[in-house]
């Protein structure tokens, strides 16, 4: 043992030196570094998970927005279509109403015209009968029985009018 150099003081020296170095390196080297490595890998994993979560959230919200846009678009188109429909229906009914109004207005106007014409004709006939009697009286110089003559004239005029209408 002595020849290869094993001796107690030397062995104890190296033993103590190694153990002190072991304590120092465990405390100063292994401890902090392994903790730092663990911390770092945990943090990286967490942030990767968070990023993944965020990506999923973003994807799902984008999808939701897309759906809402689509829904809004269809709704808008529906509204436009309805409005166009309503407008079409309104136009048709307004046209019909206006047409009937115009029709009735024209009708009434025609009736008025006819009534006015009839009244005028009546008036003219009465006037004409009187005028004719007056003229006849003056021609013959004598008074005729006004009543009897008016009836004759009326009869003549009736005939004349009937002839007019026929024409």
């Amino acid at each position: 043992m002595e020849a290869i150099g094993i001796n107690l003081p030397g062995l104890v020296t190296q033993l103590v030196s190694f153990l002190i170095l072991f304590l120092i390196l465990s405390k100063v080297l292994y401890g902090p570094i392994s903790r730092a490595l663990d911390d770092r890998s945990n943090r990286i994993r967490e942030s990767l998970e968070a990023a993944d979560q965020a990506r999923q959230d973003a994807a799902s919200s984008a999808e939701r927005v897309e759906q809402e846009i689509v829904a809004a678009r269809t709704q808008g188109q529906q509204l436009i279509a309805e409005a166009r429909d309503a407008a079409g229906r309104l136009r048709v009914s307004e046209e019909a109403r206006v047409r009937t109004d115009l029709e009735s207005l024209r009708e009434r106007a025609a009736q008025d015209v006819r009534r006015e014409r009839d009244a005028a004709i009546e008036e003219i006939r009465a006037e004409f009968a009187n005028l004719a009697v007056d003229a006849a009286e003056r021609v013959i110089g004598r008074s005729l029985d006004a009543q009897a003559h008016r009836e004759i004239i009326e009869g003549v005029l009736e005939e004349g009018l009937a002839k007019d209408r026929r024409n």
Partner: protein, 387 residues
């Protein structure tokens, strides 16, 4: 090959290399038999035990311990400065760079290794010791390759050498089995001496050639400055011709620094720590009966009892194999470097320094890895293995 000759720069390098190689072969050990040993130095005296550098009271500081402490100091400083940002919880610690990054790579490498070996986080508890062993061993191995380690030191002359040996023998109480070294004749004088270039017949002056006296243990020198006239006439003539005072000029180099792992005490200490810790892990995870039952198995018949005893012997053998694998490799490496410097003085050592760096790393890794594997094995019960 033709490419090398076509480029003048490469050709010049090649010629230079060949010339240096030829010079080193001619001037080194291979040239010495032909009278051409103008470069070589005497082969260094290689002592198996570590040498004493100085004493603190009765405690002797060995050169291997000194380099071990230097390595430990370097590791402590590296660890301290490399983890400063982490320990101060600086936000910069999350962007590791430089030294911190380097240390993290090592630690993470071993964390992965430990988790692979033990299966999951359970492997973590082995790691402080495994990493410490790796770093300490690799640092010691690499430091011992540095120039100056093993080559710069005290010159101990014959008288001092014999005196120290006397002390050692008295302390031990027995006749230690030291071989007699050859003394080297140094050049220079005063406090600064060196081994001169060139090899002569005066490189090795055997201790036995000095005049012996009437020592109690047969190693006392009557006159350390004089040669025994009957020993060797040629050597005597050489010494007298060169006017060398053997008492002051001849001696042995005691290096200040020596590779810690070339001292068997260091490797034994680390092996003991590793094996004792492995036993503690075993007892902790399997309990006293569970782990002790591995070695003293009396329930399953005589064969398993015998197997248990074999396991016990195996456990002891592991300690020894741990110790001597590392010691043998590193000591052999040192001897190899010395031998190569002796044979090819100029360039012979360069590839072997590379080899030694590699071996130093590999041995450190093997030591650490085996500690891890033995630790994992110790924490797994026999019953678990069978399933």
């Amino acid at each position: 090959m033709s490419k090398i000759f076509s480029s003048p720069k490469k050709l010049a390098i090649l010629i230079l290399f060949v010339a240096v190689f030829g010079l080193s072969v001619a001037g080194g050990a291979l040239g010495a038999p032909f009278g051409l040993g103008f470069l070589g130095a005497p082969i260094a005296n290689i002592e198996l035990p570590a040498e004493k550098i100085f004493s603190l009271g009765s405690y002797e500081v060995k050169n291997s311990s000194l380099l071990f402490w230097i390595g430990g100091l370097i590791l402590t400083l590296l660890a301290f400065f490399g983890t400063r940002k982490i320990r101060s919880k600086s936000p910069e610690a999350d962007v590791p760079r430089g030294l911190q990054n380097f240390l993290e790579v090592i630690v993470e490498f071993f964390i992965n290794l430990g988790e692979a070996a033990a299966g999951g986080r359970h492997g973590r508890r082995f790691l402080p010791l495994v990493i410490t062993i790796f770093l300490v061993v690799v640092m010691s191995n690499w430091l011992s390759v540095l120039p100056g380690v093993g080559t710069i030191g005290w010159v101990e002359n014959a008288e001092e050498f014999v005196e120290h040996r006397e002390e050692a023998i008295e302390a031990d109480g027995s006749r230690a089995d030291f071989k007699d070294p050859d003394l080297v004749v140094f050049a220079g004088g005063g406090n600064f001496k060196w081994i001169p270039f060139g090899r002569t017949s005066l490189d090795a002056v055997p201790l036995a050639s000095l005049e012996a006296g009437e020592g109690g243990h047969g190693v006392e020198l009557a006159n350390p400055g004089r040669l025994d006239e009957d020993f060797d006439e040629g050597l005597l003539a050489g010494i007298n011709n060169r006017d060398i005072d053997l008492a002051t000029d001849a001696g042995i180099l005691v290096p200040f620094l020596r590779g810690p792992n070339t001292d068997v005490n260091t490797t034994l200490a680390i092996a003991l720590v590793a094996m004792i810790t492995i036993q503690i892990w075993g007892f902790r995870s399997l309990g006293f009966r569970g782990y002790g039952g591995k070695f003293f198995n009396i329930k399953q018949g005589p064969i398993f009892f015998f197997v248990g005893i074999l396991e016990l012997i195996g456990e002891l053998a592991r300690t020894i194999s741990f110790t001597f694998r590392l010691f043998g490799n590193m000591f052999a490496g040192e001897v190899l470097l010395v031998a190569m410097a002796f044979i090819f003085p100029l360039i012979g050592i360069i590839p072997f320094i590379g080899l030694e760096l590699f071996v130093g790393l590999i041995q450190a890794f093997i030591f650490a890895m085996l500690t891890l594997v033995f630790g994992v094995m110790a924490t797994i019960g026999h019953s678990e293995e069978e399933h």
